[in-house]
Subunit: 338 residues, 2 copies
């Protein structure tokens, strides 16, 4: 099949690789219907994660089941499915506790930006959509594979609740989905920290009540002014680097919580600040499968529409242009279709 | 007055210092009735915190109000009071959120192990006991100034709840109070990690359902065996050093929470483990005043008795012997009376 392969920093190629196949009775192979590029794909693209040897890349997709292993009984070829980027059996103790992202049989989609992808633990991971979804819902459905569920996780982990206050650090697709999640979970004040006009506009459309463009000390002061001199109860850290982490803790009120979902890169938790101000830290890899049925309901009923995070759609064979656009921040998130 | 003064590592003297006096209208001066030595007093005693110059030490006491400033209207000379080690106005935004330990007018008792102590923010901090308490309740009441409230905070921060599972790391007085708190908050399984027979016995008496004497890898394996192969939902970190922190995270299940109350010394949060396993970290300086009325009710009604953590009582002028006993771990916690 044709697949996206990363050869090294900045070197994305769409080329021939071996077809994925059923390797275990718990596997399924899915024909990719729609895929996309994740902010975390930019880590190796930018050389911030090592690329030891060429490998397929892309962990988000919607697809049509092509083939299933012997243990997969709830899905059959032809089913339209959302593929959570993190695969789980949905039965182990961690899964039963709602932490499917720490499943004992954890797996990840390895060739989402390709013609086919293998899903390990298909029975526990996949969620079927009856019939073929309306075409205009595809972007929103696509977001459920990772980014919307991850933004949701940031909101849940940071304790967003009806009437609460939330600050979102990071105006990438995850951060914008975090704004949407905070709105859905009832936060009264939602501050998006963003310096980019189109992202600010989208944040407002998604429910941000305030935009803070300043960073550092000025950003902290601006947030506190909005929040009556004290920081936020819930801060959604949606980047994963040191400056974002620092910003997140500085805008959080005593007793508040930083919910972190950006894959940590060279990040340290400020344990002494946390101790002195009783600020909690919680989050991690989103247990997509846990949230998926609920999020799917919200999307199919057209109550929740994260679709606008995709501001560029490209044919799959132009995937390299998509990486470039996201790297240069000319696109928020790129949708890929065969 | 006579007060305990630390001159440097291992050098505790009971000597004459100036009397504390009302310095602000929000102050009170309390005649110390009972005091004690805290595990955290051992940090400077052991040279792990610097002692730049001789200073009075001791932050826990029960006392009788001697004098109040003009703004203190709820207390009068002669009142018997519990003095939270952390003083707060109990009205600022942080206090109203239940984080009195991050009060904008935060203060700390500086001469608890002395004849008199000054309480800043007396109106917000002190809690009165009507009449003179029964003598046998004094140790339990003494524990409310810090250690019992701190153990309670560890349990609350780590999310202990009815039917939950808890591991307590640290068998000092705070850890033992953490066991008691976990029992009061309804945990079904409470594992105390302790290698010392008398502390193990006390942990059992306080509600520990299991004792794990092993540390490191063996300790983790023993905890997991008790908890069905997975770690604890709530882990109470009651030490504050690196090995204890590491132990705490290793015995916590995916999605669980480490509640930390040991003053952090050279501690790092394992952000990547937290991310991968969705383990939360929350805690800090205990907001004693928040818990005090409830804890006082429990003690006065003789439902809660942390008193046995005091296994050595000394006259105040033998305070140096008390430090030595705690440093050598021949005493868990030392009560001091004039």
């Amino acid at each position: 099949m044709k697949a996206t392969v990363i050869h090294g920093p900045g070197d994305i190629r769409f080329e021939e690789v071996p077809d994925p196949r059923i390797e275990a009775p718990t596997d399924a192979v899915v024909k990719v219907h729609t895929s996309c590029i994740c902010g975390s794909d930019l880590w190796p693209y930018r050389g911030e994660d090592a690329v030891a040897e060429p490998r397929t890349i892309g962990h988000e997709c919607l697809g049509i089941v092509e083939e299933v292993g012997a243990d997969v009984t709830s899905f059959a070829p032809g089913d339209f499915v959302v593929v959570p980027f993190d695969h789980c059996d949905n039965t182990c103790p961690a899964c039963r506790l709602g932490v499917q992202s720490a499943c004992v049989n954890y797996g990840v989609t390895r060739s989402g930006q390709a013609e086919y992808a293998r899903v390990t633990q298909a029975e526990g991971s996949l969620v079927k959509i009856d019939g073929a979804p309306d075409a205009d819902l595809i972007p929103a459905l696509m977001s459920l594979s990772d980014v919307m569920a991850t933004g949701w996780h940031a909101a849940v982990a940071s304790g967003v609740h009806e009437g609460g206050t939330a600050v979102v650090v990071g105006d990438g697709a995850v951060g914008l989905c975090g704004v949407l999640a905070a709105r859905e979970l009832g936060a009264e004040t939602i501050i998006a920290m963003s310096r980019h006009q189109p992202r600010q506009d989208l944040a407002r459309r998604f429910g941000a009540t305030h935009i803070v463009a300043e960073r550092g000390r000025e950003g902290v002061a601006a947030v506190k002014e909005i929040l009556g001199g004290i920081g936020a109860e819930s801060t959604l850290e949606c980047v994963g680097n040191g400056p974002a982490f620092e910003q997140a803790f500085r805008v959080t009120r005593p007793g508040g919580t930083v919910g972190f979902v950006g894959v940590p890169h060279g990040v340290e938790a400020p344990v002494e600040v946390m101790f002195r101000k009783n600020i909690g830290l919680r989050g991690g890899v989103a247990p997509v499968r846990r949230y998926l049925p609920d999020l799917l309901d919200r999307v199919l009923s057209r109550r929740l529409d994260p679709g606008p995070i995709f501001d560029l759609t490209l044919p799959l064979d132009r995937v390299a242009d998509g990486y470039r656009a996201m790297d240069e921040r000319t696109a928020i998130k790129v949708l890929l279709q065969p």
